[in-house]
């Protein structure tokens, strides 16, 4: 087995991984960086983010506003000290991207323009038309080429961590093109592998978003935090789940039911005004909007479509010229995939799984409890999203915490003693034996696709927008069953070169672990908060018992063990989470009581 020695190993070549790699390279050019990614970096799912990236920009805005929006939007399950750091560094990071060439949309005088986004009090979302993630990712990837110390392992799938002497000391990879496995030694490791949305049926995510990095850390004893909080984005394409960005509403789009009625006014988000006001109606937060859809469906006020109930995203009043300028990708998606001209007809939409709020538990410096292991981006839970992420905070997170993770991993690597290569290699060879065994074994009777579909269906059934103990229990049971059946999985393809069936099997095993952490965390949270909403006697938020982070611990061969950790509250005491007119009233009262 080949081995390669790096100082810092970064797993994942999306926004967070690339930003981390650049941070390591800039902090010390002598450090050898291995950037391991299962796809070429520009394929990473950051590419699909559309609407924009948050950073306080306008003179009418303030860090305090961004902090309050984020903490309230997260239903107070945020690490407030981390949020404070985050909002203070967004602008700097987005400016850094500007210096690196990101084609941000501009105001007539040449400054970077900002747009409105859901749950944000003031316009602070930087955007590059409606391809913001695409442009950020390509800017970061292309910029990373400047740094000779970044050695890329493109299309190398990271399959395990190597841990010795109580600290992580490298990773084991499969080179997809050859099927060869290798050990990549590193004194520190940054995981930046993105979310896990593909464990659900209808989702906005790319096929690669399978939670690998979460499972890697989890299996090595690092808790996955707040995994029950899974974001349903309210405006997605029926069937495929493809995303129609929140910027559609930021630019003034409406959501209407089968009667053409802007139904959000019935769910505490009104009043309905001619164009959506910030933090009201269509610019409410995603959890509330997806929940409102669910109720409209119950009331029979949605429209029946080929792929389930839909409502209409109506952009017609914005006019073709503005749509082509601000939302060109949305325009093409609607035309190509649905045959709808959004300047002339409304777009049918329904909620789909979009984002994993929880992830690998890390502190404000992106350090996990396992020494040497860092995480950044969607795979991590650094604590800024709480129970519901606000749109456009995640792209900023990639940069702000990608940089922190890179700098901290560099610092750790410089202080760490070299590992024992021989014994690390021995560990890697044991991993190889196990995984090659999965491929070469014969006689299995379970199809990968069947297991994957059953997993995705049960996650949707039990851990959807609204949840019940009974169905969550059924999901937990089903996942236990699927893990058992996985032992009998059949990999038909026995070849070495580009054996993607083998990789799918490995990913599926990861996904089952991550799905379990979600389902068990969900059933144990006996309250409703943010994206975790119950209808079985726990409809209210319960700060007394559950103003806590859930922590799922891996138990080999069994159900995860769930325990809880404290939430860091600094300056915002939990209050009523309200939007629209009610939100404005609540804010006035908070101000008055603080004086």
């Amino acid at each position: 087995m080949e081995s390669y020695k790096a100082d810092v190993v970064i797993v994942g070549g999306g926004g967070a991984g690339l930003r981390a790699a650049i941070a390591v390279a800039e902090s010390d050019p002598a450090l050898k960086i291995a950037l391991v990614s299962k796809v070429y970096p520009m394929r990473s799912h950051t590419v699909a983010a559309e609407g924009g990236s948050a950073g306080v920009k306008l003179p009418t805005d303030s860090l305090e506003y961004h902090f309050n929006d984020t903490v309230g939007g997260g239903d107070w399950l945020c690490e407030q000290d981390v949020v404070e750091y985050f909002v203070a560094h967004c602008n700097e990071e987005l400016t850094q991207l500007e210096h690196w060439g990101c084609p941000w949309s501009r105001t007539p005088d040449g400054h970077v323009n900002v747009r409105a986004f859901g749950g944000m009090k003031i316009e602070r979302t930087w955007f590059a038309a409606d391809k913001t993630g695409f442009h950020m990712l390509h800017t970061l990837f292309q910029t990373s080429i400047k740094y000779p110390s970044i050695k890329r392992f493109d299309e190398h799938f990271c399959v395990d961590l190597v841990v010795e002497d109580g600290r992580v000391q490298g990773v084991v990879t499969i080179e997809i093109g050859s099927g060869e496995m290798a050990l990549v030694e590193g004194k520190s490791v940054v995981i930046a592998t993105g979310g896990a949305g593909r464990v659900f049926r209808e989702n906005t995510n790319g096929g690669i978003v399978t939670g690998d990095g979460m499972a890697l850390a989890y299996r090595h004893g690092v808790p996955l935090r707040d995994m029950e909080f899974v974001q349903y984005h309210p405006t997605c394409m029926p069937g495929t789940g493809l995303l129609f960005t929140e910027a559609c509403r930021g630019e003034g789009g409406f959501l209407v039911n089968k009667d053409g009625y802007r139904y959000l006014q019935d769910y505490g988000l009104g009043p309905a005004e001619p164009s959506p006001r910030n933090k009201a109606m269509e610019l409410g937060p995603r959890d509330r909007l997806s929940q409102a859809f669910w109720y409209e469906q119950q009331k029979g006020r949605t429209i029946e479509g080929q792929h389930g109930s839909v409502v209409h995203l109506d952009l017609r009043h914005l006019g073709e010229a503005k749509l082509r300028e601000r939302l060109p990708q949305i325009y093409e998606l609607a035309e190509q995939f649905l045959g709808v001209d959004p300047a002339r007809a409304p777009i049918p939409v329904r909620p789909a799984v979009h984002y994993t709020m929880g992830g690998i538990m890390v502190d404000g410096l992106c350090a996990s409890p396992l020494p040497g292991l860092y995480a950044a981006g969607e795979c991590s839970s650094v604590g800024i999203h709480g129970a519901n992420r606000l749109g456009s905070n995640s792209l900023s997170e990639l940069c702000v915490f990608g940089k922190v993770a890179g700098e901290e991993a560099a610092r750790f690597a410089k202080a760490a003693a070299p590992g024992n290569s021989a014994s690390l290699l021995k560990q890697a060879q044991a991993v190889e034996q196990r995984l090659v065994g999965l491929k070469t074994k014969t006689g299995g009777s379970e199809r990968i696709a069947t297991l994957r579909k059953e997993m995705a269906q049960t996650m949707e059934d039990g851990c959807g927008i609204y949840r019940l103990a009974e169905t969550m229990q059924a999901t937990c049971d089903k996942l236990d069953e699927l893990k058992e059946r996985f032992k009998d999985v059949n990999v038909e393809d026995k070849s070495s070169v580009w054996n993607t069936e083998w990789l799918l099997a490995i990913e599926l095993e990861y996904q089952l672990d991550v799905a379990q952490s979600m389902a068990y965390s969900a059933i144990n949270r006996r309250e409703s908060r943010g994206a975790h909403q119950r209808l079985d006697g726990f409809e209210k938020r319960d700060d007394e018992n559950f103003l806590k982070h859930s922590q799922a611990h891996y138990v080999a061969g069994g159900a995860p063990r769930i325990d809880y950790g404290a939430v860091k509250i600094t300056k915002s005491q939990p209050g009523t989470r309200a939007y629209g007119a009610a939100g404005e009233k609540a804010e006035q009262e908070r101000k008055a009581s603080n004086v």
């Binding site: 590419v47 060439g101 084609p103 501009r106 995939f337 070849s495 580009w498 069936e501």
Partner: protein, 251 residues
Amino acid sequence: MSENQRIIEIEVLRYNPETDKEPSKQVFEVPFTDDMSVLQGVQYIKDYLDGSLSFRWSCRMAICGSCGMMINGEPSLSCETFLRDYYPARVRVEALAHFPIEKDLVINMEGFIEKLESIQPYIIPKEERTLAQGEYLQTPAQLASYEQFSSCINCMLCYAACPQFGLNSEFIGPAAMALLHRYNIDSRDGGTAERMELVNSEEGVFNCTAVGYCSEVCPKHVDPANAVNQNKTNSAADYFMRFLTPKGGAK
């Protein structure tokens, strides 16, 4: 099977380097609905008919650039090409032309990546600016001048369309040239002189015979042919200018 489901034949060019001397075709019968893409058809084959079929894909929405294939001989993104448009005829799916096949529909793209890396695809600042000084000012018109060239998703359909790349794989090619042009004309960039060497070189713009098929197949309207042709003019001017100015022609 629902009533609006029909069966289409998908012919796939298969190649396994470990067992096959050369690629050969295999036909699969795939049930499909009107909203199914060719990618979804190929996924169906992998999930239910033959797990050993290999192809790249991810985002399903024509932005990650992974799933380019020859579909009935035309370079296309399989995620936004629909089976209904071929039915009732058979649809033929092959690896992108002009690239070595690694397995089935997977091509070797290392050469493309090397080209992309070679053009210095990053801002070489015209004037240094600290973060504390804020953003560079760039008017909407300045942005518009390069924006389309920054929209390349690296799907390589243009290389599969380019007859010259088919003859000479060293040719820098449409996408890399468009990206080079994108940085050269960005108002923040001052690196044109460094990049012009490549434009003028043997692998540079003069390989292009102005067929224009690259721009036709581009799914993102980047119009790489336009970038290549603008650089032919620039290159000619640069060539001429280097006789007149001591440091060469580029601005």
